[in-house]
């Protein structure tokens, strides 16, 4: 493509450091973008805080996609991503996944109140993962945090939290709706967390200042932002 900085032969590569929660959606988007732009997109999933840290340490990442604008802001303040390149592209939702169903339904807190079935509740590490912080906020505002504290275990990211629950090692987990929408929670019971119980999770993307393909990276970010996202609320 004209305009992209790829002097040598071969196809330029854009490395996207992405929050695990965004990975399934980004993977589908990246596939179509690759076809249109003659570029190779590599996704590097992890917790937002961990990836932000890697970018600060000079990891060869071109685009930062996160579920917490605070990390994007921190990177912009530190000069690690281009402030003008930041785009918001969706809003994340928190869900409760459980290995068991609750008789009579109830609201999203029901699985967390059925104490006899509950040994471990997994959330992402609130220190590194936005969905972990949102999960902590939601449990606190529901008045459950103190009672559940001995049962809480931290996953590295929402992806690991989901793995804990899928393998039955944790009974309940709080993860991103996007993972459930991508079909990764098959066989589990899912309930949407009341959105008023946690602060909105704004998904943002930005171009890393040290990127060797800034124009291409910006096109990826812009295309992502103009995409009619799958973030529409799911009727229950």
């Amino acid at each position: 493509m004209a305009g992209c900085a790829a002097p040598g032969p071969g196809i330029p590569e854009i490395v996207v450091g992405t929050a695990s929660s965004l990975e399934p959606a980004l993977r589908a988007f990246a596939d179509s973008f690759e076809e249109e732009e003659n570029v190779r997109i590599t996704l590097l999933p992890g917790a937002s805080g961990v990836i932000a840290r890697q970018i600060e340490e000079g990891a060869p990442i071109d685009v930062f996609a996160s579920a917490d604008p605070a990390y994007t802001q921190r990177l912009a303040d530190g000069g690690f991503v281009e402030p003008a390149s930041v785009r918001s592209f969706g809003e994340g939702r928190l869900v409760v996944v459980s290995t068991f169903s609750v008789r009579g339904g109830g609201d999203w807190t029901s699985p967390l109140r059925s104490s006899e079935k509950l040994r471990y509740v997994a959330i992402a590490n609130p220190r590194t993962a936005p969905y972990g912080a949102a999960a902590r906020d939601a449990l606190t505002s529901a008045g459950l945090w103190d009672a559940l504290a001995p049962k809480i275990v931290y996953g590295e990211s929402v992806a690991q939290v989901l793995q804990f629950v899928r393998t039955g090692n944790a009974d309940v987990g709080l993860v991103a709706r996007s993972l459930v929408d991508a079909g990764l929670a098959e066989g589990l019971h899912v309930a949407d967390v009341d959105p008023s119980a946690y602060r909105p999770i704004a998904e943002t993307a930005a171009v890393v200042s040290a990127s060797e393909h800034p124009l291409l990276a910006q096109r990826f970010v812009d295309a992502l932002a103009s995409e009619p996202g799958p973030a529409a609320p799911v009727p229950s």
Partner: protein
């Protein structure tokens, strides 16, 4: 300073090392006395956890004692006990990775001891347990201590398998190595520095102590 993490690291490291000694020293003696061929096979089997990536071990351990596994669900039904997300899971992981270091080192010690001493004890009518405790172990004492030091070092440093089976639970499974990892990832550089330095000094002190004990020679129960 995360004192919980230091306490937990020492607790996990010492418990795992104790299990390694109880299982590993007799195992090393047994292997050292196997016929050639069998001995190499048994040695190789014991070494497997040393060469596999810790993540593979973590995966195997989850398969073996995870809450849905045969063993894991039986333990939970019978005793309400689970290795997963528990400090005992960290001990299990540390035990599995440290055992080969102990067995390998101690086995070499037993193999270098002249078997004539044991044969002499046997002709004098001593039982196998007595020979093991009063002849074999004292003669291989330095190797035993070296094995203990190596096993403890590996147990304290265990990270990958621990993270997979025990997770990162503050006060319960967040050992020093996991606390350091988290501190670095979240940009708490000074905390990471203090944790790393503390762990380095603590293990260095312990290794020096073991070295001094080794110089003093055989314990007095002989």
């Amino acid at each position: 300073m995360d004192w919980d993490a230091l306490r937990l690291s020492l607790q996990v490291g010492l418990t795992a090392t104790a299990f390694s000694v109880v299982v590993g020293v007799p195992l090393a003696w047994w292997i050292a006395r196997l016929r050639p061929g069998w001995r190499e096979t048994a040695s190789a089997l014991v070494l497997v956890p040393m060469v596999l990536p810790p993540t593979v071990l973590g995966y195997y351990l989850l398969q073996a004692v995870g809450r849905r596994s045969f063993i894991g669900s039986a333990l939970e039904d019978a005793f309400g006990f689970s290795f997963v997300f528990d400090w005992t899971g960290a001990v299990l992981a540390a035990f599995v990775v440290s055992l080969p270091f102990l067995v390998r080192t101690v086995q070499a010690g037993f193999e270098s001891v002249d078997r004539a001493y044991e044969e002499a004890a046997r002709t004098l009518g001593r039982g196998e347990l007595s020979i093991f405790m009063t002849v074999a172990v004292p003669l291989a004492w330095r190797s035993v201590l070296a094995g203990v030091a190596l096993a403890f070092g590996r147990a304290v440093g265990e990270f990958g398998a621990t993270l997979m089976i025990a997770g990162n639970v503050p006060g319960r499974t967040r050992t020093m190595s996991i606390a350091i990892y988290e501190a670095v990832q979240t940009g708490r550089a000074s905390e990471a520095q203090i944790l790393a330095l503390t762990l380095t000094l603590a293990t260095l002190g312990l290794l020096i102590a073991v070295g001094l004990a080794a110089r003093k020679g055989v314990p007095s129960w002989r």
